[in-house]
Symmetry: C2
Subunit: 378 residues, 2 copies
Amino acid sequence: MVGGGIVGLVTAWRAALGGARVTVVDPEPGGGAAQVAAGMLAAVTEPHHGEEALLALGLASARRWPEFAAELGEASGRDLGYRTCGTLAVALDADDRAELRELHALHTRRGLDAQWLTGRECRRLEPMLAPGIRGGLRVEGDHQVDPRRVVGALLVACARAGVEFRRARAARLVVEAERARGVVLADGARLDAARTVLAAGCFSTDLEGLPPEVAVPVRPVKGQVLRLRMDGAYADFLRRTVRAVVRGGSLYLVPRENGELVVGATSEERGRDTTVTAGGVYALLRDAHELLPGITELALTETRAGLRPASPDNAPLLGPTALPGLHLATGHGRNGVLLAPETGAVMAHALAHDALPEAALPFSPRRFTRTHIPEPVL
Amino acid sequence: MVGGGIVGLVTAWRAALGGARVTVVDPEPGGGAAQVAAGMLAAVTEPHHGEEALLALGLASARRWPEFAAELGEASGRDLGYRTCGTLAVALDADDRAELRELHALHTRRGLDAQWLTGRECRRLEPMLAPGIRGGLRVEGDHQVDPRRVVGALLVACARAGVEFRRARAARLVVEAERARGVVLADGARLDAARTVLAAGCFSTDLEGLPPEVAVPVRPVKGQVLRLRMDGAYADFLRRTVRAVVRGGSLYLVPRENGELVVGATSEERGRDTTVTAGGVYALLRDAHELLPGITELALTETRAGLRPASPDNAPLLGPTALPGLHLATGHGRNGVLLAPETGAVMAHALAHDALPEAALPFSPRRFTRTHIPEPVL
């Protein structure tokens, strides 16, 4: 497993539970985008703009989350901060309202549980919302989890399941007889493997030795995220996740039970730069202030930027590539945390059978290779 | 010396150079408001609203700064970041412009060096300024220094001058035979002293045992300050200190030679709370963005809040109190860094003679006691 972020770890854990001998290669296991992510499990309120397959994958993963959280909590002895507090998507003006109405129409067609609320009804649920809120969608099924805790729990669960960790950088893929055979580490050591999984987020492109028929079209999309503290008179500042589209950007506020309030996120194409900028923090505070004016009273405890591994169609790249023995698990973009349970299940299947389960076929990495080879189904 | 912030340290150093045996009592010497302060030495551009004596004190201290910086740099072997880059006070609208014009008229009456500039002239000096700038005052004599470095240098210079440090909290003043005799520490130990100086900033009021005739009317005024980084394409973002009054608050941006850009400051009456708030950071970024729109591109590297020790008339309390043996050196408000050299000189004189030099008489702590006793002059 090249990469010990949330996707690499969940895949390693699930594969190890299925009987595989797994080694995770990462200079800093447990790092990566999940250290920054808010942890919205927003399969329903995430606007998909016609990405039907991705919506279905998100819904499938959301359905897995309760059991996954229980199982991972049990396996690690850790609390994941999994919270079924629901999500409220709100509209700040008439245009937002029209867009949210469209999203609601999609929900209705798909039979998804979402309730239309007037601005007044929104403020009855969340009294700190700005008086100008024009309406909203209440989705009790869109939950949240603390991604830092999830990653911490996965590290423990992996270790308990026999996963080995190699704190090193994987430098080069070993290809012999037209098959991936493992990796060479930065220090020159070679790790042999029957199957190699590339799950290093937006850094997956760094591995040398990938043959031309294996495309890894992921790029970093920078997201700046703030952490605030709700306490004292403001302990009940927000009770459920609130999200909105402000000035074209997706803004969300995720309140944790421990008083942390995560405010995210910018979406910036700046290569691998993870600088927290005055402009990013300013835009998040300005937009959050528009949605919840009282936010000015909360402590600002952390500012941080992470890199989403984005793919050309916003969907992940999962399972076998055109090179036998090489699998991908990357390109999760904004949805890595939501998709973690489904990714673990899909990848465990893919590694056991060298083929994707049927529902995951739209996510084959081969969709980006020039000569598309039909996928075997098992 | 009760208090090892910039004022306590400069007083201790100067007194020790004069031959006194000095012990500084502070749980964390070198901490305090100077760790947050921007270090503007803005005797001229600081609006004083008729505080003539304070203006004169500031000008006297500004005149001392070059030699003081050289001497302290020599004594400590440290670079203080003293920079003679000048200050530009700008007006964002017609009201600001009228106020700046008034300040300029005061400068002219006092013979102070300040030059009126049109908005275009301001932007010629500092091209990143917003196009809407209506005019400004250029004051080449208002310099800057890095307060963290000053405090670091003072710690070294004090130690080299024989000052002793006691890392403890002073709990109670010892008064015997109607004279201050030293302090009792929190652990019960007693330190005897012929003269005790209370220089603990806004915490000076915590010392128990102060007799009723000694008033210490200082209160904390919270200031939130940001630190940004100018580098790469933005290394020349700002060349001199720029300040303005935005929405009634004083905003300043102080560019250091090492690329740090300090943006300050809020003024909040919140007791001893030093929480960095979403609202404080938001207001600073919003106002700075109005002045210098390109600031959004800079990295935000630090957010912090400090407590200014404010007095009822905004001027410091210096020298002997109504209780023989007890001196004060606190209440410097926004001007602690600027006033450090003059404070050191005044206090060294006061400790040697138990009386203030004539120019410092307006700053006697006795101005706040009910029965004002005329000050002896030496």
